[in-house]
Symmetry: C3
């Protein structure tokens, strides 16, 4: 028996792939590529006690500044998202929640689980129909 | 080219989202909400050497008692499921298998991977068409 | 509103389940079952500095030899894949990328995250329509 897929299910699949591509950009150090996944007026709260970065340009500037602390450090980070859930948001937007395990890697040492967070996203469609983050709040337990 | 989705594929997507919601309830301390994901006659084996909890009420009582040990502990747990596989079970039920990484978090300390388990579920449809656990066996390696 | 699923989306779902089954075989010590997920002329690079294993038979021989070092060790490994992304490859093949967290488990000790890798696969269809690895390169950060 076959059924048509609902828009909800199709969107769920899109979100899974969107996260894979988005976070690979960040983990590969492509800060501009990561910032480009936000809307022009996007908002990104990634660290408790640090005010959220606003606008795509502002997010990129904030990321560049934030990553400066890692410059002398050969550390690489990998963000493993799981437990993705989606729901309808306001104004045709989509809310998405995911668990994220942040693993830090340094040459010659064992991987270190640095953080386990819950990521709260509001996602919208851009003009091309692709997904973008209107906002992201990273909640540390 | 487009194809209709099979019921199997649709169910797979449902299971992914079901797990995300189910485990967020548990991780957020909503024990009643977690117990409600089981059928009335559900069965839950979560700890080696501890007899399985039976019936939704019994599962809730067992969880409340089990979590008492964490009461004075500001620990939070996050269950990261991955590698979900599904298959047909008996009587129209569904068997589902997933890996689970259990991460424990305490304020001011690094996250700790407490357990890596394999979760064996039998899932059925409730009257509303939603998924519920008829049983869950957590296997520790 | 319902839509037909695209072949891309259907394939994405297949890949998720394929990975779950493939890696459970490896983690359960079914080396022949794991090798059988490769094409006859498949290629597998799993360890930096070790030449890739070639052909299904060669992959199995390589795995048997590689796992000999674990024989006296009651260690069990679990490969948690996440962040799966797929794209079109050459000749009708499919490229797939995933993050893998390798967790090592020994009786009586806490789980240990041994590695966080990026897995680069080329997947093709076998005569039955199922997926197989034409190649897999495991990249350690």
């Amino acid at each position: 028996m076959t059924l048509p897929i609902s828009t909800r299910e199709q969107t769920y699949l899109e979100v899974l792939q969107y996260y894979a591509r988005q976070m690979q950009r960040l983990d590969d150090g492509d800060l501009a590529g990561y910032a480009a996944t936000f809307t022009e007026d996007g908002e990104f709260s990634h660290t408790p006690g640090r005010p959220p970065a606003r606008t795509r340009t502002g997010i990129l500037e904030d990321l560049v500044e934030f990553h400066r602390r890692f410059e002398a450090d050969p550390m690489r980070r990998r963000h493993h998202f799981s437990m993705v859930d989606i729901d309808d948001g306001d104004d045709g937007s989509l809310t998405a929640t995911a668990y994220a395990l942040v693993v830090a890697l340094r040459p010659g040492t064992a991987p270190e689980v640095r953080a386990s967070c819950v990521v709260h996203d509001v996602l919208v469609r851009d003009a091309d129909g692709g997904l973008r983050n209107r906002s992201r709040v990273v909640q540390y337990d």
